[in-house]
């Protein structure tokens, strides 16, 4: 067992999944007008890719169990896969098929697999933090041996619920790990000039007495090591912790956004710093190049099969639009 190989597998699966989703989202109208449309477009609507950020999802989720709970952002495919979801059912959801995790009701932006504790990607920035805090509070009240984790972007820390969630987690000493995926940008705007203070995600946590650790979010082993320590502390009853991972978004805000607002030199540099490239180089140096190549082939096959499954799967029938809205008195107590 080689830890880097395991992390590499997770990262490569995420990359393969998102590359395939991106390919299936092309052909519609462009960003800035309407959403992605067109009969041939199989993944419609906004598709937020986490390309370049895979090491954070892989490194953190490597230390989670299925019973641990997770909330995510609009950029949630990586977190969902890393938490153990099935890529075929995920792809079905992105294709809007009845066999998708949400029955085609949510799509990419709301991808979720409750069976592995992944409580959902969210279309509202910062909304996942209070939910994760509540989940952690619920786990604590029920005396369950599990923790909650919330991923969020660097832009999300400027909404009020960030402060409220961190404060709440701290005063009730909740078992929750906050993970800031700091890709330095929020939609099309640079985050730095919009955010007061240096290393704001960590600094704000520390101001509330929550220990925070900064890590190179493109170094899978470093993320994993930092996450392992923090998660161990939380499991031992420490209360909340924050992991601040510095990374980079290699693609546009959504799949059809050409991201022309970024500095090409910065992008070129970031491509060299791609976490998958870095891990691959390292594995090569350790003489594990063949194993890495094998992992890549398996991921490609797995994701090609997921696309085939999703392409062949039927759309939900119209009447499904009326189910799971409300049904008074049904299934309230379990």
């Amino acid at each position: 067992m080689n830890e880097l190989l395991d992390l590499y597998r997770t990262m490569v699966r995420i990359r393969a999944f998102e590359d395939a989703a991106e390919a299936a989202s092309q052909g519609g109208v462009s960003w800035g007008g309407a959403a992605t449309e067109g009969a041939e477009v199989r993944v419609k609507g906004p598709l937020h890719l986490s390309t370049g950020q895979e090491a954070v999802a892989a490194g953190v989720c490597a230390h989670l169990h299925a019973r641990d709970l997770l909330t995510s952002t609009h950029r949630g495919h990586g977190h969902t896969l890393a938490k153990g979801a099935d890529p075929a059912r995920m792809m079905c959801e992105l294709f809007g098929r009845a066999s998708g995790y949400n029955g085609g009701k949510g799509g990419s932006m709301h991808i979720a697999d409750f069976s592995v504790g992944m409580l959902g990607a969210n279309g509202v920035v910062t909304a996942g933090l209070p939910i994760a805090v509540g989940a952690a509070h619920g786990l604590k009240i029920r005396g369950e041996d599990a923790i909650a984790v919330s991923f969020f972007g660097d832009g999300a820390i400027n909404r009020g619920p960030f402060l409220e969630a961190l404060n709440w987690a701290q005063i009730y000493r909740l078992p929750v790990l906050f993970v800031c995926e700091d890709n330095r940008i929020s939609a099309t705007t640079q985050s730095a000039p919009m955010t007061a203070g240096e290393q704001a995600a960590s600094a704000r946590a520390q101001a509330l007495g929550i220990p925070a650790v900064q890590v190179d979010g493109n170094a899978a082993l470093a993320v994993s090591e930092a996450a392992r320590k923090l998660i161990e502390e939380i499991r031992a009853g420490s209360g909340p912790r924050l992991l601040h991972a510095l990374t980079y978004r290699l693609k546009g805000h959504v799949s059809v956004d050409p991201a022309s607002y970024r500095d090409p030199a910065e992008v070129a540099q970031a491509l060299k710093n791609d976490p998958i490239v870095l891990a691959r180089e390292r594995l090569q140096a350790q003489g594990l190049g063949e194993q890495a190549a094998q992992i890549e082939r398996e991921a490609d096959e797995e994701i090609a099969a997921a696309v085939a499954t999703a392409s062949a799967a039927p759309l939900p029938p119209p009447e499904a639009a009326y189910s799971d809205v409300v049904s008074i008195g049904e299934g309230a107590w379990t």
Binding site: G32, G33, A34, A35, T36, E37, K44, G45, P46, G96, R97, A98, N102, G104, K105, G106, G107, M109, H110, N122, G123, V124, V125, T126, G155, A156, N158, R159, G160, S186, A187, T188, T189, P193, M194, T195, Y261, L315, P316, P317, P318, A320, A321, Y322, V325
Partner: protein, 327 residues
């Protein structure tokens, strides 16, 4: 006359108003880049931020509550802020600032202060954007005393009504439709629009058989339906309400009295929608038969088959009209 998109028409209105009124500013996320839908980008492609500088087109953090709350404060300090919420769904993150602060200020403080603030809250289904990016909340805000609610359907109206809103002096919830941003149309920059006045979007035989009231994107669907009805001899008048509050009761009551039948059509969920207000008012004041057509009370789904259940199409409008005419 110029041909402009719905988004460009609003940008032009804002640009012209900002040129003559130094107190107008705009604030919100991604405004420096022209807004995510290009609604802060002039017809020649330049960002309004280039024209007016970052002091007047203000790029903000992702902080909806403070964007709206700061707008209230700016207004009390003498500015006329345009507060950008990207989509109405995210304005729910700023609901106290809009409902308890902006809407109440003038009344609660005995008229000492006024809040001339435009809250741009785009509504409507946005293809394949699912349940958190597709909602139509106009009825919520119509329910709140102190707010004006505007919902333009055409580039001309997005130009004229934004200008009228900027001049109104009170908080205006300005609801553009996300699927209309690209709609092209002629814009007469000399024409003015008045809040509280509807527009005749279609009139066949002076609408002697049926009055249809609608607004926003649904107006275009209703016009298609009215054309189809006209082909089979039904004389329909389609009124585009344009402002939800104050709404043009007089014009609607007059048309409904004359035709004896009123159908209100909106994209929002039908239950407790603004169509109920229009229908009830017409029923109270005329002998007209009334009917409503809105979305079922379901969140907007992602898959095309599910999303379609929330869309009101021309065939459904025709069917509802025929049902109404059959009695």
């Amino acid at each position: 006359m110029r041909t402009l998109s719905y988004a460009q028409a609003a940008a032009l209105a804002l640009q012209e108003a900002m040129q003559t009124h130094p107190h107008i500013v705009a604030l919100g996320e991604d405004l420096g880049r022209g807004g995510v839908f290009g609604q802060y980008r002039s017809a020649d492609g330049r960002c309004l931020a280039e024209l007016f500088g970052s002091q007047r087109i203000i790029d903000t953090p992702i902080s909806e509550a403070t964007i709206m709350g700061a707008g209230v404060g700016m207004a009390l300090a003498g500015l006329h802020p345009v507060v950008e919420m990207r989509v109405a769904d995210f304005a729910l993150c700023a609901i106290d600032e809009l409902v308890n602060q902006a809407a109440k200020n003038r009344f609660m403080f005995g008229g000492q202060g006024r809040v001339p603030l435009i809250a741009r809250l785009p509504i409507g289904i946005w293809t394949a954007s699912a349940a958190q990016h597709s909602q139509s909340f106009e009825a919520w805000f119509a329910h709140i005393p102190g707010l004006v609610v505007v919902a333009p359907a055409t580039p001309q109206d997005n130009y004229g009504l934004l200008k009228a809103s900027l001049a109104s002096g009170d908080p205006v919830v300005y609801m553009e439709h996300k699927e209309l941003w690209g709609l092209q149309g002629e814009v007469d920059t000399q024409a003015t629009a008045e809040l509280g006045k509807c527009r005749v979007a279609f009139d066949e035989g002076e609408g002697r058989d049926l009055t249809v009231v609608s607004w926003s994107r649904q107006v275009h669907v209703c016009v298609d339906a009215a054309r189809e009805l006209a082909a089979s001899g039904v004389r329909t008048r389609v009124l585009d309400l344009r402002t939800i509050w104050p709404w043009d009761r007089e014009a609607v009551l007059a048309a409904a009295s004359a035709s004896g039948r009123l159908l209100v059509v909106h994209e929002a969920v039908q239950a407790a929608g603004f169509g109920a207000e229009v229908a009830a008012t017409v029923a109270e004041h005329t002998g007209a038969r009334v009917a409503r057509l809105g979305a079922p009370r379901i969140p907007v789904g992602y898959a095309p088959t599910l999303e379609a259940e929330s869309r009101i199409n021309a065939a459904q409008v025709v069917q509802a009209a025929r049902r109404l005419l059959a009695h």
